[in-house]
Amino acid sequence: MNSLFPRALLATLLVSTAASAWAQAPAAPATRGPNYIAIGMFLIFVVISLGITFWAARRTRSASDFLAAGGRISGFQNGLAITGDWCSSAALMGIAALIYSTGFDGLIYSVVPFGAWPLMMFLMADRLRNLGKYTIADIVSVRFARIPVRTLISLSSLVFVVGYLIAQMVGAGTLISNLFGIDYTVAQIIIGILIVLYVAFGGMIATTYVQLVKAVLLVSGASFICFAALFHFDWSIDALYSSAVANHPSGIKVMQPGGLLADPVSAFSCGVMLLLGGSAMPHVLMRFFTVPDARQARLSVFYAAGFIGYFYLLTFVIGYAAIGLVMKDPAFLDANGVIRGGPNMAAIHLSEAVGGSFFLGFISAVAFATIVAVVAGLTIAGASAISHDLYANVFRHGRATDEEVVKVSRISAITLGALGVGLGIAFKEQNIAYMITIPFTVSSSVFFPILFLSMYWRGLTTRGAVTGGAVALALGIALLVLGPTIWGEILGHGEGIFPYKYPALFTVLVSFTIMIGVSKLDNSPRAQRERAEFDDQFVRSQTGVGAEAPASH
């Protein structure tokens, strides 16, 4: 099918990043000099978010405040904050771009990853809150040897965070320079400074409220685009779809599945990656520790699922509306009749088509705010992996003071911010489409199996968990490097040694098999003790007795 775009866009993977497609489809800049409306609105967001940070910084005293907002966020607020973490600007623009290019199959990135939400609710939410403290490594440390599991999970978390961060930063830089008419490097530095301010000073409290504001802006912006487009078609959704069929070169095929993931192994591998990876993302799961108890954790999932599901329903309209209203309008096309700025701009152009230049400015500012907030969420996840897991528990054997943990968290946040800017500049104009499959492969084949087995299977031992997780991490990265994207396209060997773009199906199976096999063979005294401790852990996970209480002040 439409050969270049679908493959490039595929990797944008909705939940994740705006990054890839810009990087792969370099097109003429979409704007004409600085967009003052967009800049003005973004400045308003900056002022509000820095106000929040200032307020939050005064309330951040302990490590619990810094890493888990003192466990005092309500279920509703947390649901919105999770929505903010989950929906990057790619959830709006990436899915719209996929539908714009390939039609129906783009919606697979709405429906399948959304399935992660009910799964999290039914299988994980209560138990996670009852077992965890600041990070997902806490859950596994309840009965396993602290040093090996924490080391594995925190290093995997850092791989996750850095992969995600590069994808976000590069995508952001290109998007921002397109929308705002400012320089790529300047955009990187602005993002870097903002996230360091939010995270290093305001910690989890600031990050949560910034995320919350951004979620409200994103959901209302997308709603406006959707309903303004429907209004344009006299509220007839069939008329909207008809105009898409009339405008798109594929005709009626835009309303039918097929083409995008024609090879069944890739389709299922990609689906497994989205579904399992989406339900074990550390920066999302750590939000379960910011609420007081399991009941509020459940409520957060409920609100998050409501907002995210609603948001995904809007994508059923927005992508097709872009075909109907943008694809044939010369105002949005370049000299060759191709959409200005590439298909990722489809939703942005649509906002101008239905709401004029003022609304275009608003949506551009929302897109910038979205990226900044998502990067901040990733940064605090990375900072907690360094300060709480590696520093306090591995190097200091749990003897670090609260002040030391907060200090290390701040230093980590500043370092990660600087690293993000550096990598963002280093990867400028690189094809980073594959980047986003790294975090998803890691979370589906390392975090998901470990969390799932440790909560549901008595037999898992430290040795099994660490061996399986480490092999899956190494194998996942190796298969990605040897796959068609990096080995074939970037290193120029034509095709990959490993034939599939998404190794998740294989790495998930390998991970589970090794964890179960090694645990079964492990009969050390330590393993026997770990199996015996399962019952107590089980009671705690089910009842919350012995769970971390919220900070008292």
């Binding site: 709405s110 039914f122 069939d238 779809y241 309303m255 459940r298």
Partner: protein
């Protein structure tokens, strides 16, 4: 803490709670998982396979909307409703039972 865990483990209501809750959770998870597989299979095998064919059919004569759109829409709404269903039963049935078990156990353990 050890003692209270022992008391809870010995309580038959705890095992009843656990059985009910996990059976309910697994059923719902299976529904969600099945729907996601159905969606993946439809995109992977359309239009050759018979079960995927429906996804490309218009909902009415002359309509542009296909059943695939309707199914995807219903699935998304359905997932939200399933989450709501779970939280309703968790709050109205599982939580009170759990609270009663924990309260009795605390008393029995002398805390």
């Amino acid at each position: 803490m050890q003692k209270i865990y022992q008391v809870i483990k010995a309580d038959p209501r705890f095992h009843e709670l656990e059985r009910k809750r996990s059976r309910f959770g697994w059923w719902l998870a299976a529904i969600v998982f099945g729907n996601c597989l159905w969606y993946m299979a439809a995109t992977a095998f359309f239009p050759e396979s018979g079960f995927a064919h429906l996804w490309g059919e218009p909902v009415a004569e002359g309509a542009a909307t296909t059943w695939g759109i309707v199914i995807g829409f219903v699935q998304t709404v359905g997932f939200i409703l399933l989450v709501g269903l779970y939280i309703y039963r968790a709050n109205h049935e599982f939580d009170p039972l759990k609270d009663a078990i924990v309260e009795d156990a605390r008393r029995a353990a002398g805390e």
